[in-house]
């Protein structure tokens, strides 16, 4: 299994996901290739991860400038051949800007950056990204974003529902005892936290599974996403 993490200028979760992935693979961090955004070529890989962060400072539109990076042509080409692509947070924004996923991510409805644990429900467990979860299972996972409000036109949304493209939805969790929290942290349409492409080979999500892959840090509910990928792609 070979995994590659793309590093954009301003990515800041690249190391975090590298560490978590290497752990899932059972190797040291150098088991994961770090690929510079300016590279025009990328060796064939089994999994491409677009990490979180503020690539290009989130300037203009979050993800907009990175989506036009040289390496993205290669990412799109491999994605078309069916290589699994995972976009986390800023990576999700880049995937929508690059057209690999439908919709767009707008500023959070309360306009504030939000960093906290949320709960998400697994809506489709029949994919390489989610097969270690049960459908309907609730995960507790951190978010940390300013532009996480998923938006898509109504008819397109209907189509996505029909195609089981909704990966995760925000929901309330039974251990959520903190005051003033709504389940949906950003006003996303239909409470959407993550979506697939039609073939379920590309996943973008706002929550950070790599920040929930270590009991000492943020819980372990995200670890299975990485380990299920590793076993599915092995």
């Amino acid at each position: 299994m070979k995994a590659s993490v793309i590093v954009f200028p301003g990515s800041n979760c690249d190391r975090d996901v590298q560490v978590a992935l290497a752990d899932a693979i059972g190797g040291t961090p150098d088991a994961v290739d770090m690929v510079w955004h300016g590279d025009r070529e990328m060796a064939k890989t089994d999994l491409i991860v677009l990490p979180g962060g503020f690539s290009y400072g989130d300037y203009l539109r979050s993800g907009a400038m990175s989506a036009r990076s040289p390496v993205m042509r290669e990412v799109i080409a491999q994605a078309e051949q069916g290589v699994a692509v995972l976009g986390i947070c800023n990576g999700f924004q880049i995937l929508t800007e690059a057209g690999l996923l439908p919709g767009a991510l707008l500023r959070n409805s309360d306009l504030k950056f939000v960093c906290r644990d949320v709960h998400i429900r697994v809506e489709n467990s029949q994919t390489p990204f989610t097969n270690a979860y049960e459908a309907g299972q609730t995960l507790r996972i951190p978010v940390a974003h300013h532009d996480g409000q998923y938006f898509v036109e109504a008819d397109e949304l209907a189509g996505m529902r029909d195609q089981d493209q909704i990966a995760f939805r925000y929901c309330t969790g039974d251990d959520d005892r903190e005051a003033n929290h709504t389940a949906n942290p950003n006003g996303s349409i239909d409470d959407i936290a993550g979506v697939f492409n039609k073939r379920k080979t590309v996943l973008g999500l706002m929550p950070h599974p790599e920040r929930a892959a270590d009991a000492t840090h943020g819980g372990t509910d995200g670890r299975a996403m990485l380990s299920s990928l590793v076993s599915a792609l092995a």
């Binding site: 301003g10 975090d16 503020f54 400072g57 950056f113 003033n180 000492t216």
Partner: protein, 728 residues
């Protein structure tokens, strides 16, 4: 050099220089300075850069310990944390700019302190922020809170450094003068620390980062003047932060630091290119010759004066080893940052600048630094406050608790810290909300505990006790999670030092701080002074903000304030005398800011803290909270709310007992079966300890009183700040 018109008295005054200072300049120069030279002297000799009012007293602080690698004097302090690693940290103020433009002021404050830390070779791993605003009722407060918090987050989130803690206070004394103090902690290899002393005659002086614009010219002098009604007109000097470029600069500098190319490196902070050049040259005992034309410029037609005094952000100055320019340039090219050789190191001992080859300024370095004014300003000690008579409780204790927890002073700061990314880098072990944040040392099983504290109302009442208390509280917060306190940084925010009573506050606080640092083996390794925090002659509360770090040798062996089990005994460590002077209880519920500050007995502080830390390290307890603002009942309620487990409490039926702010106290919780042993150990150690309650259920109860549900307590506690911010 071109001849210029005579310097006028008005120009001298505009540059914030006194007549005597100008006379010193004349004797240093041996001739009349030109305007650029005058500008250079003015920023170098501003309070902000020269510490002219504070230097004398700062020297009295203890700065050494076997684990201190580098104390004050460099960009940040460096402490050995074992296993070949060093922690590098500092705190800095950005008060005036944040009042004028809260978002950008706070953001650039964060940017500046980050640079101070990574310039020494550290990867920044945690940010803290200590914020002080005016009264909630003041017309400007809401706008300032919202802008400052967004700015701190906007910058820190983007660069990907977690903001893991801080403080927020409200007090009318800050109405016209808020405080924004930011702290960064970084991690480096102990044998790869970078310093700023230039060396190597002929070596290239290299400028990297963003281009220079006309930002913040006079920023350093502005930061050292009082506000008045003309402040509005100074606005265009506001600097805008570019956290994206800062992130690239961090990565590029760390990449460069992994090579063998750097002789010296220094960020451009206050007074920009001037201050960084002069400090590098002075520390190395060399001269600098700069080509002003080579400085990357954002705007057309900038004068040497403007280039030298600009405070554009996200820039660094580096002295490279001979022949490594191309290697270094390739790295900055990769990160799409500006890179320019702007001069070289000379043996002249002079700081010279050229435009089109013609010398436009020429100043001897040594005297520029060493002849800078130093004042032993007169100071008076305020009278000690009268002792506080008996206090009649205005209401029962539980309603009092509820009122305190859901008021501006003690309500939850969640609304603030949820706007900060506190989990990026995946090493945050204890998030905001506890006594000290804990950040794992990446790839290891050890952690750093970080806390900031200061209780300005104590400092106003009794500067000496207040200064000691600030240090002691930081030490206590670090101790409460089980970490071994190592060292502190400070940010000394005061009013106009030319007023003897303000200078008296400064002196008193420093003395108290020094005493506490000595008694607790907690040296000061870096810091910052911000004076002239006044509007219309009304000074802020004396606010010596302290930031401290400690080390946890085993990550799992730490304590947290949240109750973990039903049936635990709650034990109060430390003596309770019921000190209500200057307490939150007295201030919020009775509207009285009276009485002496609580007594700080450093021997007791240390004894009690060492005892508690020993219990945590020995695995005997995992639940601990120190007592501070609001006293015993507030602390107990915080533990119950955090753990979502109720408490039944017993004690004296006396407001002083429940809400007094006696120092050196902790609450610990552990299974009942272990309680007797802990009490015995306390007795043996001479530490006062008594059981004051036990955990369980869903309510908080005082013996014989009506219980209150945790849900209800939490509702008010969590609601105050978001409600306040919303109802604007």
């Amino acid at each position: 050099m071109s001849t210029e018109a005579n310097i006028t008295p008005a120009q001298i005054a505009e540059h914030g220089l006194t007549d005597e200072e100008y006379q010193t300049i004349l004797s240093v120069m041996g001739r009349q300075p030109n305007l650029t030279e005058l500008g250079i002297f003015s920023v170098m000799w501003s309070e902000h850069c020269s510490y002219k009012s504070s230097k004398f007293w700062l020297k009295t602080l203890p700065t050494e310990a076997p684990w201190v690698i580098c104390g004050p004097g460099e960009n940040a302090g460096v402490v050995d944390i074992g296993e070949g690693k060093a922690a590098i940290f500092k705190m800095e103020s950005h008060n005036h700019p944040s009042f004028i433009e809260p978002y950008q002021g706070a953001a650039t404050g964060v940017g500046g302190i980050l640079r101070d830390v990574f310039t020494m070779g550290a990867r920044p791993i945690a940010n803290m922020n200590a914020l002080r605003f005016g009264a909630p009722e003041d017309a400007k407060t809401r706008h300032l809170v919202s802008g400052v918090v967004a700015g701190v987050g906007g910058y820190g989130n983007c660069v990907g450094v977690p903001t893991v803690g801080g403080e927020v206070n409200f007090d009318p004394a800050y109405n016209g003068n808020i405080l924004v103090n930011a702290m960064t902690v970084g991690l480096a290899d102990a044998d790869r620390i970078f310093y700023s002393a230039a060396a190597g005659i002929g070596n290239s002086v290299v400028y990297v980062g963003s281009k220079t614009g006309r930002d913040g010219i006079h920023g350093a002098t502005m930061a050292s003047t009082e506000f008045d009604d003309t402040t509005e007109e100074k606005r265009p000097t506001v600097q805008v932060g570019d956290p994206f470029t800062e992130k690239l600069l961090i990565e590029a500098c760390l990449e460069l630091m992994a090579t063998d190319t750097i002789v010296a490196i220094q960020d451009m902070g206050a007074a920009g290119l001037t201050c960084s050049s002069v400090e590098m040259a002075d520390k190395g005992g060399v001269g600098f010759d700069l080509d002003i034309d080579k400085v990357p410029q954002r705007e057309l037609g900038m004068t040497p004066y403007e280039v030298m005094l600009s405070e554009s952000q996200e820039r660094m100055l580096i002295v490279l080893r001979p022949g490594t320019e191309a290697q270094a340039e390739a790295i900055f090219d990769k990160w799409q940052l500006d890179f320019a050789v702007v001069g070289h190191v000379t043996d002249t001992g002079r700081f010279t600048g050229r435009l089109d080859g013609e010398v436009v300024f020429d100043i001897p370095v040594r005297p520029l630094v060493e002849e800078s004014p130093e004042y032993e300003r007169p100071w008076t000690q305020a009278e000690a406050p009268a002792s506080l008579g008996p206090v009649t409780a205005p209401m029962a204790h539980i309603p009092a608790l509820q009122a305190l927890l859901s008021g501006p002073d003690l309500s939850s700061r969640r609304w603030v810290w949820e706007q900060y990314d506190h989990t990026v880098m995946a090493d945050t072990v204890r998030k905001p909300g506890g006594d000290a944040a804990i950040v794992r040392i990446h790839g290891s099983n050890r952690g750093l505990a970080i806390a900031t504290d200061c209780t300005p109302r104590y400092c106003r009442a009794e500067p000496h006790a207040g200064g000691a208390q600030a240090v002691a509280e930081v030490w206590r917060n670090i101790t409460a999670v089980g970490a071994r306190p190592l060292a502190v940084t400070d940010c000394l925010n005061f009013g106009n030092p030319e007023r003897p009573e303000i200078m008296g506050e400064f002196v008193g606080c420093i003395k108290g701080m020094g005493e506490a640092c000595r008694a607790l083996d907690f040296p000061v390794v870096s810091g910052n002074v911000s004076l002239y925090n006044e509007t219309h002659g009304k000074a802020i509360l004396p606010t010596p903000a302290i930031g401290g770090i400690g080390i946890l040798d085993e990550l799992e062996t730490h304590a947290d304030l949240a109750l973990r089990r039903e049936g635990d005994s709650l034990i109060l460590i430390g003596a309770t005398e019921g000190h209500l002077g200057q307490s939150i209880y007295l201030r919020q519920l009775l509207g009285r800011s009276e009485g002496p500050a609580p007594k700080v007995d450093l021997t007791v502080e240390r004894r009690n803290g060492d005892f508690v830390r020993g219990l945590i390290a020995g695995g005997q307890i995992d639940t601990c909270h120190d007592l501070s603002d609001g006293g015993l009942l507030v602390a107990a309620a915080e533990m119950a709310m955090a753990g979502d487990i109720g408490l039944a409490l017993m004690g004296d039926d006396d407001a002083g007992f429940w809400f007094g702010e006696d120092q050196a106290r902790y609450l610990i919780a552990l299974p009942k079966t272990g309680a007797d042993s802990v009490l015995q150990q306390a007795k043996d150690a001479g530490v006062p300890a008594r059981v004051i309650g036990s955990s369980g259920g869903e309510t908080l109860t005082l013996e014989g009183g009506t219980p209150i549900s945790l849900t209800e307590l939490r509702r008010g506690h969590e609601a105050w700040l978001p409600d306040y911010m919303q109802n604007g």
